[in-house]
Assembly symmetry: D2
Homo-oligomer: 367 residues x 4
């Protein structure tokens, strides 16, 4: 078995989560390669060294360009704040490395598109990890199988309390240039699920509000509560999206639901191993929704993990993502790729502009 | 104890529900009056006679003007389709009767305003029954008591499957002139709760779609799936609203949630005796939401019903409404009144127009 | 339509609930008779008079024998504490009245058997109201239809906090002779559901504990927490039962579940309009339980109430019970009858004795 | 940092889960040692070799005695079927190795006691992994902190469908000598939680049934549905326990609840990151149970994993267990140890005998 060297740029939560993914991928799936966590980079020398030890990475560096330059690194995995993604992606692609980039691909569409363009010649992937949860992969599969018929409505929401306290000091998450908008930071996952499951979004109307407008004396230009109305390209499908970070005692509660001509599917991240399904044509005596335990051996990913009823957690999404990537190594296209990441970013930017310009905006208008 | 004579116009579901309310009101509350269900009207003679027997009403008639004209009728309770409300309200007020009118007050704002105006001289009430559920009354009380602090966000949604089947034949519900828009028919309840709990709505953006555009060869001009973004007058409060009738195996699932500076409150009609509450300042070790059983004797209405844990149903909302009205009889102002009903209708119409005109619309623009 | 006169003995919660049932029965079902609440009795003259007004009963008396004696009373409905049931039942039957008796039929099996025997010549019914909830009636129907196959296991539990506070003063509920044991007071409902759905119970082992052994200086001889193991007569079916009154913040949470060769059914009273059903042979991709909304028009009782999704409450169980009784008036046998009530009491007493004697006890041993 | 060599005996699900634990332990906690998965044993040479690759173990062998004998193995981790535990434990202890043994410690108390005795001189631990879930560790902590006051009642149940299909062929799980009773296999986890949280159990009554008594022509002597009544040593505390493997569409649903003088705590494994807590003295307006998200940084283990709201899965219990063991290496006592495992087994055997002898049995009678 051949080694595949991985270099991680950024040692925050996402760096840890991606390292976790590579560490466990060979434990859940028979792979032809052995992932080696060669190096991780970050600006604080002591902190990144500690992270390397904790995450199980062989070496650390304060210079991300070193990660990109190393011969023993095959895949550069970009886990910096969003605004710093594009530069690393471009450098890595220029160095001929495969690229995995956390979402959102960038803090604006122009950068996202440029990064995707730059990476066209190398294997590249965007990190929409939630797709890799068994329940959300099953959600997608059931829609593909026609379980809901033709989709009519899609709705997604993400409620957290992370910005509720006005005394949280300023950091990069409050600065759009670096942290991306809330439409992009939280919404990108939801939009990815919408595009993946339903199809392209044509038009949006949106609003966004920031309740605490300065922190640590600096202006906050990131929305704390943003919402949008959606029209999809395909037929008459409509949708709604809400992302909010000021919802007390809602840690990270996201939901997606589709209603189609034949059925309803709903996922609540609060119960991440479950899926709710209702079939319009089902017997009247069973009227209601089924609570599917998305852990049956026939479900996506499930057989690789634990016996039914045991449940996986957040970490499994990164493990499954890493396994999906490594399984196709070397060569092959990855899915979703950075071009898809750029499409998601385009929708995010359409929402940002629709909110700012107070009008319905076609996603095509974003260039 | 003095009798108060009630005449009901319309014998459909709402006629039945209102009759149920008057029948049981004296069973849950000590009243100074005895409600007498004198007469009910409807166009089909046999059917309205059968309804009178079933609902416990003394007499029936096919002429609603007879209800309005009778000396032994003190309160005219209007339960016709929305488009027929205003005429009855106006006639009843002209005859000096007190008026109770089901929501929405009318199918358009001009009619609603005219009806409210006409009824100014008599006791008048609009039928937002869900307010009278213990859990929603407690929701309102907790907001008033400051349990969520200053409101930042409000969201409401109503998902049903009543229009999903394209083979349902045309009836008045599919005709806006008579059945009112879906923003008004389902949304009015949600908007009432928003106005009551949070305050006036200033601006909206909206969309609406009809998937089955003809039924029985007639055009359907009522939305099947409508949604809106809201900005409230009071400060920066934002909101979202969705009303949809094409959601398989979702019979009548409505939810409202507010997020404020100090807490979160959520109600799901699927579990109508419960309320979810989270307090931002609560101990970390108890992080999460409380599931309040809205049946404690200290809760609104609860002590009049059953011991804690037993639960009430939909019907209780009409009983509590009737008790609240009869308790103030004779004289007194009722709350909410038709003027409030007109305000709700104004917001509905703002949403309809915002959807049609594809732009943000100030509620003030609706006249 | 013929009047049927009803006299209620006892004006506590059960008197109110039964009056509520007779009041609304004609509102939910087309009946050939008109129930008339003629009289209600109780020892406190002012209180029973107030109750008569509140419950909608024509007259009140402090002498229950007057209720039994009145010519205009056809049905004597017994709502006293359990220990006082038998005497009233026997007097009513001797007077040729039909008898409806709240559960448990008596505080001991000998009295229960004697009362059932005495009532053999008149229409008689025992008040297991929860059977009449749509969801529990559907539970029974689904078992009858074979939805779970052959029953293997049954479990029931009832958790409340009503006796948790040691400072609650002594009243008749703490005295077995009058209030019956906790096996009988709470357990009777569960045992009724077990016998109705699964079949006779053959043998039991049990335990019972009282944590607060004196109240107001008097000895408490009623269990606060009692549990039992069950073996049914039919084949190898096993069961468990727990009834406890010291469970903080559990107001009245009862559950029943059966597991059979083909499926599982579960009911939680906390969500009384729902039923959980899982089918062993269902597709793997749908693995899990369905949450049935027990409000579909095809479900028992449901079409008589509200549209699907609206939900009924505790009160509906008494209304449906009254309708089921009145529908068969005059004549006919009622189901369940007092003989069944005595069988339930026999099982309760078997549990009491098994707990006291610390041994497995055959229900047959109770005489 | 010093290496600690681990040898795993048995490569089934538990071998995989324990390997997973050692692999990730250094990723969640700062340890002073580096766990090395040296060798894993099993009877099928090809299968154990494949397992070694999949689990990340350096070598494999078909002779468990080789695992015990290796110099580079410090800890022998016993993951064979229960009936084979004791021999391996004794050999490992005799070789001076530390011992970790999966539950149940043995298939009978005599063996369990002998194994615990044999291991007294070496570090030894029993694998009750569920204790290490954040929510169950928080459950225990809250009880210790007095959140429920004095415990009055404990209940535990474990419902699965693993044996429902009568066509599942015979394997060691159906043979008590090797697979242990269902009281021991499923119940041991529940009994561990009871002993840990509440205290020793004094007396039991029990029953057990097997519906499919032969499989593949061989007799099944393991219960498919077993239940027990419990009296604890400490005061008047009572409990119930049910373990059943014939519950359709119940994959692995276990619950534990305690009710005390001041509160209620409940855990359902179906939602393994949650805990329900109700406080008797809480404000009436908040009556109900709190749904605690057991992921707050102040909760046990939680800060080592993911941000709040993300959730862990089954695997985390093994990782936390491994971290707890390795953190104390070398030296120190582990908790829970094999002596505790033997105490749990003693209760299991008391239940088995109580069921067989159809009588209340003191746990002391088991020797």
């Amino acid at each position: 078995m051949r080694d595949v060297g991985i270099g991680i740029v950024g040692y925050g939560l996402m760096g840890r989560a991606h390292a976790h993914g590579y560490t466990l991928a060979p434990r859940v799936r028979e792979l032809n390669v052995v992932p080696r966590l060669r190096v991780i980079s970050g600006r604080n020398e002591a902190a990144v060294a500690a992270a390397a030890r904790r995450y199980g990475v062989e070496e650390s560096t304060t210079d991300w360009r070193e990660v990109v330059a190393r011969d023993d690194v095959d895949i550069v995995d970009v886990c910096t704040p969003p605004g710093a993604h594009a530069e690393v992606v471009e450098a890595a692609a220029a160095a001929g490395k495969a690229v995995v980039c956390e979402k959102p691909l960038a803090a604006d569409y122009a950068s996202a598109r440029a990064a995707a363009e730059a990476a066209r010649g190398v294997p590249n992937a965007i990190g929409f990890n939630y797709r890799r949860l068994p329940a959300l992969a099953l959600f997608h599969r059931l829609v593909q199988e026609g379980a809901v018929g033709d989709v009519l409505l899609w709705r997604g929401s993400w409620l957290s309390d992370e910005f509720l306290d006005p005394d949280i000091p300023f950091d990069w998450r409050f600065e759009k240039r670096m942290g991306a908008s809330t439409f992009a930071d939280l919404g990108a996952h939801l939009i990815d699920l919408a595009l993946w499951t339903v199809g392209p979004i044509a038009e949006v109307s949106a609003q966004s509000e920031t309740f605490t407008r300065t922190r640590s004396g600096r202006e906050v230009d990131v929305g704390e509560a943003s919402s949008a109305l959606l029209r999809f390209e395909d037929g008459r499908v409509r949708g709604t999206l809400e992302v909010a970070r000021v919802c007390a005692r809602r840690p990270c509660d996201f939901s997606v639901e589709v209603n189609g001509t034949r059925g309803t599917l709903r996922f609540d991240y609060e119960r991440l191993n479950e899926l709710w399904y209702g079939e319009a044509g089902d017997e009247g005596r069973f009227y209601g929704l089924r609570r599917i335990r998305a852990e049956h051996p026939s479900h996506p990913y499930a057989a690789e993990w634990w016996p039914i009823g045991q449940g996986v957690g957040y970490g499994a999404s990164f493990v499954n993502q890493a396994a999906d990537l490594l399984e196709r190594w070397p060569a092959a296209r990855w899915d979703p790729d950075l071009a898809h990441g750029a499409q998601v970013q385009r929708v995010c930017e359409a929402m940002e502009r629709a909110a700012a310009e107070r009008r319905w905006l076609s996603v095509d208008e974003v260039e």
